[in-house]
Every structure is written in C-alpha cells, then in structure tokens.
Symmetry: C2
Subunit: 573 residues, 2 copies
C-alpha cells in the first residue's frame, strides 16, 4: 500500500541486491537507486494486461542467491600465472562472481536468464589492465596461446557485445584506464583513456579550469541514457548516440584520433580535423565493437559548456503526420539544430502525459479543449544549446515551424520532467520483472521516406503478436532522416518465446527499410542479420580487415558483428 492512500500500490523493492548475488549483476545502475512506476503507469499496466492487484503482491525470481557457476576454468594454471605476472595478481580474478559479472550485459534476455539461474557463457578469467603496456603483453600472449579476449567497459551493452561466447578473458577497461590525459584548449579536444566513464569525463570537462587550468568550462556533448554506466571506449566501439546528438553529433562524429592495440600491432591515428590522405582509418576502426582490437585512448572534440544558454520547449501536435512533418522541416530548414529533440508517437505521448504528470494540469485541459485526441496527438520535447543568440534563434524558428503544423506550445515543463528522469527510466525494469512484466527497447534509423512504413510495420507486428504496450519515439535527427526507438512493455514469456518475438521485430525493421541499428550496435544479438543486411561484399571487406588485424580470431570471437558467424546461424529474411 502506498502511504496516505487507500488504493493498492505494489511494494516495489527498495532493498539493494544481496552482495555477490545474481541480482547485483543484472540490476540496472546503482545498487541503492530505484525508480518505481508511478500510480498512473501501474493502473495502465493492470488494465492493459488484464491483471488485478493480487498479481502484484508477491515478487518473483528476484535473483538474490549467491552466484555459483558449474563451469570450470578452461585455462591452464601456467597461463593464469602468466597473466598475473603481466597485470599484477591483484588485477587478475578467477572468482566465479567476477567471471559472471564481467560476462554479462544489460539485455532483457540476460536478466531473465540470471533470474532463472541460467549461466550461459562465462569468461574464464577477469583482468583489469593497468596500462597500454599491460594490454600489449596480454594480446601478444593471447595471440600465441589462442585465448579469446572480450573487452568490457561499464557493462551496459544491450546486444551481448561483451558476452564471452568462447570463454577466455574479460578485459575490464574501466578499473584503471579511466583518466583524462590532456585537455588541449587551443584545439578544443580532450584525450582520454578508453575506460573513463561518462560522468567522470563530463565532470572533469565542466571543471577544466580548476583541473586543467583552462580558461573555459567544457562539455563532452554525449549523453546516452546509459551515460552513468558507459565508457568513452564503449561509445566509440559501438557507435553510440547521446540524447543531444541532434546538435552535438553521434559518438563517431566526436572522434578526432584514436589508439588501438590489436593482435597485429598498434594503430595510432593522426588528429587532423580533416585530411585527404586516403580512406579514413578512424572510420575503419570506429564501430568495430572490440573485434579488431582494444581501443585504449581517444582524442575527442569537446564543446564549450554553456548551460545558461539552453532553451526548453515542447509542443503538442494533432497527429503523427503533422508532428513528423514539422520535425522534418526543422531538420532541413538550415537554421541550426536543437540539442534534445524527441518526438513521441501517439501511444508514447499518452504514457508520457501520465509519466510526466501532465494529466490533469492546465496544459492537459488546453490540448483537450483544442480537440487533440488521445492515440492521435503527439508530443515533441526539446532544448537548444550553443552560443546564446544561436540557441535563442533555433528555438524561435522551431516555434514558427511548429505553429505552421498546428503544434500547441506546451512550455518547458515537460522537458524538465523528462530531464529529471533521463537516466533513471531503466531502473523500472527490475520493478516490472519482479512481477513478471518485461520492459525492453529496440531501435533503428530511417530515411524520412521510410519513417512511416517502419513505424507502422513494427507496431502492427507487435500488436498482432501480443497485447504489449508499444511506445515509439524519434530522438536523433538528421537532414536526411531520424531514428525510431521502440519501448515494449509486455507480460513475461519463456526466454525462447521472447527471443522469437524480438527476432520477429528485427525482421520487420529490416523488411520495412530501417537500419539494423541506429545506436545500440550489433554485438552478438543482431549478428544473425548482419551479412544479409550489409551485403556479402561489404561483409567481405570487414572480414578482410578482421583477419588482417586479428588473424587468430581472438578478439571478441563467437559472433560479434556477425564476422565469424557460421551460415547456419544467419537469419534468413
């Protein structure tokens, strides 16, 4: 019961996971932080899934058991001793808990597995390298001994990208290799070790005057939802996009130069802002998801930190068509781009009005009065960044365009509500799964002319298969198109049925003309589609580079990017 009301409200869990338990591995984020579905969402879940309060009395499969593995370590003592000699014995672990923890990402399938005590693929050894030199020695030795290596940043992969399909070593980059090495204020760049976490990087940039004696404060401009549990190395390796990418660009746009250690040698690129010196080596390495080598350092663009110039805005449109047209016009009009820019489809809009507590406010009355109907109307929220006059003008121009497409100005209030929850929404996953409800996400990118067919195709499939809530939004905009991000809430099924369902969604995305991923990456989850999707010839190029840099296939082997996925495991479309 919720205090002070007589209506039932589930007793969502508020105790941290048991130490060294499965839950401590699959729970999102910090052990002591929670975000519970609010009363309106709870009420929606019950009605949509035809559940009553009694379903929400007893939590299930919470995973508080201590981790215990039955798999033995497939490395010789001599090999383990050698790794200890390289990296220091305090940085090498054979503990079962560590091995499972650093083998596990944040897919729903992994959470379901651990809740049911299934441990599928686990590394043999965990190493926390201290330096580039450690990594050089580790890779040389692993190449000689044919030991697989799986890089691990902060563990928020949602595509089995860090899953050690063939055992071997999990290489944890964030433990030691997490420093800002240099801020070059003249060039406006920062050089970091790849294991640095988002918050540490941003905090250092915001405080650069004190920490690096710069004149100005800076920002990294990259704020994915996983920000707090992600590393710069992860951003670059899996081609991430932040929530403000429409202005700041995607992670790949921010890379000025990099250093990789591969089984075949060290690659350190130049830091020119542009050059005409053959195919861009940086682009050949960005997005290689640990399959070519280990990213150890990167020099990134940084931006002036000017939060005082931010303008927030939100608009309600009568229809998806109007809203999407306004967003396309804004993306093509050439007055500069907003930073946060997020368009919710009708179903997400209705949930958002509940989650942001807009329901029952004067804004709610306004849109109802205008006749903007539930399951038709669409909410657009956003904010601008940059120099003051630029930022102000972008907001003004957006207002003009939105008005033209019948967007009602809804103030900055919904944006502030969104900002408040921007990193905490994933915490709801554990609450829901404690009561047998799955919340999961899938995403794609589209050109403008494919936006509707992909949106409709995926929704039709989901609604045809399940009674799921399916919320969609576009949150990364380009002149030529945008992304589509699907949030699915549904009743728990068996793991195999759930996987089959997800596969069906990915089939739809690709069939209707979406990309295989906009910013989650491929990992091993989407690998079965990869060759058909990018084409045999293109896959041949990637495999050729892979073979050159990693001839013994020790770097993230067993499906990553589809590079070594046998034909029988490839998806037929």
């Amino acid at each position: 019961m919720k205090k002070g009301t007589d209506r039932f409200y589930p007793s969502w869990r508020e105790s941290p996971p048991e130490e060294r338990s499965y839950r401590s591995i699959f729970k999102w984020g910090s052990p002591n932080i929670y975000k519970h579905p609010n009363a309106k969402l709870y009420s929606l879940l019950k009605s949509r899934f035809d559940l009553n309060d009694s379903h929400f009395i007893n939590r299930q499969n919470e995973g508080d058991e201590k981790v215990s593995l039955r798999s033995k370590i497939n490395l010789k003592k001599k090999q383990i001793d050698h790794f200890k000699k390289i990296a220091g014995k305090e940085n090498v672990s054979t503990e079962e808990y560590d091995r499972l923890k650093y083998s596990t990402g944040k897919t729903t399938e992994e959470a379901l597995m651990l809740r049911h005590g299934i441990k599928d693929r686990v590394s043999d050894l965990v190493i926390h390298p201290r330096s580039k030199n450690d990594i050089i020695k580790i890779l040389q030795y692993c190449r000689r001994e044919r030991i697989p290596v799986y890089p691990y940043g902060a563990g928020s992969s949602v595509n089995f990208g860090i899953r050690p399909s063939r055992g071997g070593i999990s290489l944890v980059m964030s433990t030691h290799m997490n420093r800002v090495l240099e801020i070059n204020e003249i060039n406006q760049t920062a050089t970091v070790e790849a294991g640095i976490g988002g918050p540490q990087f941003e905090e250092t940039l915001n405080n650069a005057p004190a920490k690096f004696n710069t004149k100005l404060q800076y920002t990294c401009g990259h704020f994915p939802q996983s920000f707090e549990f992600s590393t710069v190395g992860g951003w670059i390796s899996a081609l991430g996009s932040g929530q403000m990418s429409t202005y700041y660009g995607d992670a790949s746009d921010m890379v000025i130069s990099q250093e990789y250690i591969t089984p075949s040698g060290i690659i350190k690129t130049h830091n020119y802002p542009a050059a005409a010196t053959g195919p861009d080596i940086d682009s050949i390495l960005i997005g290689s998801e640990g399959a070519f080598g280990i990213l150890v350092e990167a020099t990134l663009k940084i931006y002036r930190y000017m939060p005082q110039n931010r303008r927030r805005f939100s608009f309600m449109f009568p229809s998806w068509e109007n809203a999407a047209s306004a967003c396309r016009e804004i993306s093509q009009a050439q007055f500069g781009f907003p930073a946060l820019f997020r368009l919710s489809d009708p179903e997400e809009t209705d949930v958002a009005l509940k989650l942001y507590n807009v329901e029952g406010t004067i804004l709610d009355s306004l849109i109802n009065l205008k006749g903007y109907k539930p399951m038709e109307r669409c909410l657009l929220i956003g904010s601008t960044e940059g120099e003051d006059s630029f930022s102000g003008n972008v907001k003004n121009q957006i207002k003009k365009v939105c008005k033209k497409f019948k967007g009602i100005y809804m103030t900055g209030y919904p944006v502030k509500k969104w900002e408040h929850g921007r990193y905490t929404d994933p915490y709801m996953r554990e609450d829901l799964l404690d009561y047998g409800i799955i919340i999961d996400t899938l995403e794609t990118s589209v050109t403008w002319d494919k936006l509707d067919s992909v949106h409709k195709g995926v929704r039709d499939f989901i609604k045809g298969e399940t009674d799921a809530i399916c919320m969609s939004h576009c949150s990364h905009f380009y002149m030529q198109g945008t992304n589509l991000y699907f949030i699915i809430i549904m009743k728990e099924t068996s793991i195999s049925d759930y996987r089959k369902f997800l596969y069906g969604i990915v089939d739809q995305i690709v069939k209707k003309g979406g990309s295989l991923s906009h910013h989650h990456g491929i990992g091993k989850m989407l690998a079965p589609w990869m060759e058909k999707y990018i084409g045999k010839e293109q896959m041949g190029i990637l495999r050729t580079i892979k073979k050159h840099l990693d001839p013994k296939n020790i770097m993230n082997p067993g499906g990553q990017l589809g590079l070594d996925l046998p034909g029988r495991l490839q998806r037929k479309l």
Copy 2:
C-alpha cells in the same frame, strides 16, 4: 602594350590552343577563356624577380605542336576488339591525342613536361563507358587479362591521380555517365552518376522544380576552385573540399550512399543518415582514389538554395596573430559556421589588395590611417548561408568577434571581387608559364596549435630556397583547426629542380605537423610520403582492403596512394 596607356604590358596570349596540340591538353579550363595578371601583379612580378619588360616580349614553349607519341600500344588487337565489343567501337579510342589527353592532369610538372615535348606515361586505350554494365564487363575482362585501369573524371587532378603509370586503359567517366538519376525531396538527397560535372549537377539542383518537379530549389554546397572541371566522382574519390566547406562540409560529409564496381564485385551501400552497424563501409571506400574500384553512383545530401540569404563581410586585422585568433574563436564559439571563410596571410593580403583593386580606394586609406602595415596586416573575407535569421546572426556574431581582435570592417566589396575570380585564377598559370614563371599550389590541414609552426616552416623553407612569392591562406575551418593553402610564384627551373623544391616543401609540411593533404588528395605525387605519414600499420590496413577488392592490382596501379610503391621510392624523412 596595353591600350590607352604608354606603359608596357605583355601581350598575354588570347588565341585558343591549336587543335589536338599539347597546349590544348595542359591549358587550364576552357580553350577560349583567359585571365591575365593585372598591371599591379605584372609590376610586382618584375620587381620581385628582377625582370624587365623585355623578358615579357616573346612567349616560350607554348605547346602548339600536334600531339605525337612514340610509345606503341601494349594491348593485343584481340583485346582492343573485345573492349570495342563491350563498350561500342565509337567509345574506344587508340588515337595518340586521346591517349595523352586522358592520361594528363593539371600538375605544374605535367604542364612543364608537355611544353617541352616530354610524354612520360600514356595509356594504351581510352574507353568511354556508357553504363555500369559496361564497367562490370570491362573490369572482369581487365582482371582476367591483367590490364590496368585508370579512372578519369574531368582531368583536374593535381597529384598525378589519373596518370597511367603502367599503361592500360583510361576510363573516362564523364562522357556518358553524367546524369542526375533522382532527386528525393523527402530525404533531401540526389542520386547521380559519378561522371557528372559540378556545373551540370548544380544547375540541375537549382532548377529542380522544373526538372524534377520538386517544390524547392537546391544546391550541392560543393564548390572547389576546380568546380567547372571536376566530377562528383572525383570529389568523393579524392576527398575534395569546396570553397564553402566551412558551412556545407567536405565532400566526404555529403555522401549518403555509393555504388562501386570493383574487380571482386559490386558494393552498394545503404542510405541511412546514421547507423550503428559496424565500421562505416562508405568511409572505407571514400578517398580510395580509384585504387579499390570505380565509383559509379552516389547519393548525396543536397541543401536548400537560398542565395538571397547570403551575407558578405570582410575584415582587416593588424596582424596574423590577431586574425588567426579571431578565426579560431569564430570556429569554436558555437553560433554556426560561415560558408565562405578565407583568411589571407600578410603576403597574400598585399597581393590580394592589388588583385581585388582595393589599393587606392577609401578602404585602403582607412587601413593605412589605422596604421595596419603591409606585410603585417591580414585580410579575412567570407559570407554566410542558410536560413535567413541564422545567416544574419552568424554575420553579426562574426563582426563582434572580429572587433574584439581589432578587425576593421571592410564591407562586402572584396568578397564580390573574390567571387568574380573564384574559378578563373588558375587560368593565369598559362600566361605566366608562357614567360617562364611558375605559379603552383600546395596545401595541408593543421590543428590550431600547429597553424603557426607549419605556416612559418613552409614559408621559411620557400624563402630560403628561392625568391618566390609565397601567399598563404586558410579557407576551410573546423572547430579543431583549419587548412593552409600555399600559392607559390617563382621563376621557372628545370623539371627535376622543381620537383626537388616541391619535395622539400612537402617535407616541411609533414615535419612541422601538417597533414599530407587537406583536399588535393595523394595520387602518385604524394605517394612517397604516405607510408611514413599514416604509419606502417595503417598502410597495412589499406593494402589489405586493396588486395581484397583488387587482387590482381589492376585498379590505378603504379603508386596511387602509395599502396604499391616499392620501399626504394618512399621518401625518407
């Protein structure tokens, strides 16, 4: 004598080259168009090179002889017949003139050679393919027969990029494969055949409402100095940058998708504006300079055509230091970028004031009155593009920054003068060489912290070696740096001495921290530096891709990008 004056002025050539002559090959641009050095420049040349009027009476080595080659064709009749069967006999030429013409680019060395009757490397056969299908068959046959293939766009390469080092075939892309295939107004993209020329492409986009039934007019945004004699395929293959790249981006930024025919197969990439599906295949192919395959089609970003929103501006700064600081501030301030943006160093500024006829005007009096001295003061010119309020605001903000760094506003007048000559300056090369004076250019990119060292290093070298006029400017700006473009005017030397001199400049660029090229590309001219410059490991990656796509090394072999350059020909630094 110039009419109406009693001062001597050379009789610059105004007759077109003889038909099928060497001059018709090496002359820049259209046969009937000229741009003569004006009286002020002529006077400067005389005084700087200690020449008197008598030197400018007789033109030398004009190259009007009919082309005649002594090299025989190294292809069998059977092979030539086969090519005729593939592409139609009217599209296959063994004529000596054609073979030389399509083997020749626009380097100074090539002009000097042809003026002295030296024909170094000439293809055996010229083919003008009509379609992708022709090219597929040509490459299959060439792979089987091991015949080299050299793609030719519009011939304005300045790095021996189209030179047929090993004979074989010159494949002329611009004769037939030059259409705009589609304008997708929803996505704001255009799909073109790679042989389309800049003016045809731009003209089609400007007239898209009439030609493609679009609502709006568009622009390609890419205007290199070679615009009139360049192809979209060339822009992409050699990583070009236009004069408005600071706003529109470089050619590589404009590519959405592409189709290549390689000896190993056809590669057609997806047209998503962004995706997280492994390393970007487009970037692996862009900049491959014809060494991986033939680019046959590309889908490019296009932009709304809004010339009415353009704002012009120019400023005079008291010093290079002030001017460069202002430009860096403008590039990093985050109010959006200007389109044209060009900062001249002190020596170029002084020449520009002569060329743009600012000398003697009220603007000239103003800067002299302020005490801004010759060989210290620096001229910045530019213009803004985009939506009206954006464009206006960028100009306003630029004014504020320039004022802070003591820039005197010089109106839009110098910009208009520059625009007038934007594509015609290269025509002066023939005038000068007719009297034994070389004008040539070299360029590089730099991070901001290397701008001064590269600028000074190159100037010191040039001034130490010669009495050359050396004008430098920055004309492509990024948050992290800019380019440096050097224009050298000097007395003609032997070809070997001249090459030695150019090599010395490139050595300086690289030693002082500049890139090997910002937008001219590598070709075969800069190939000797390539491996040392990008690094052995990076070169290994490019060679691996090359071998995969072109296992018999038939695509632009003989040095292109340094891929197959033997160690003994590599430059030691």
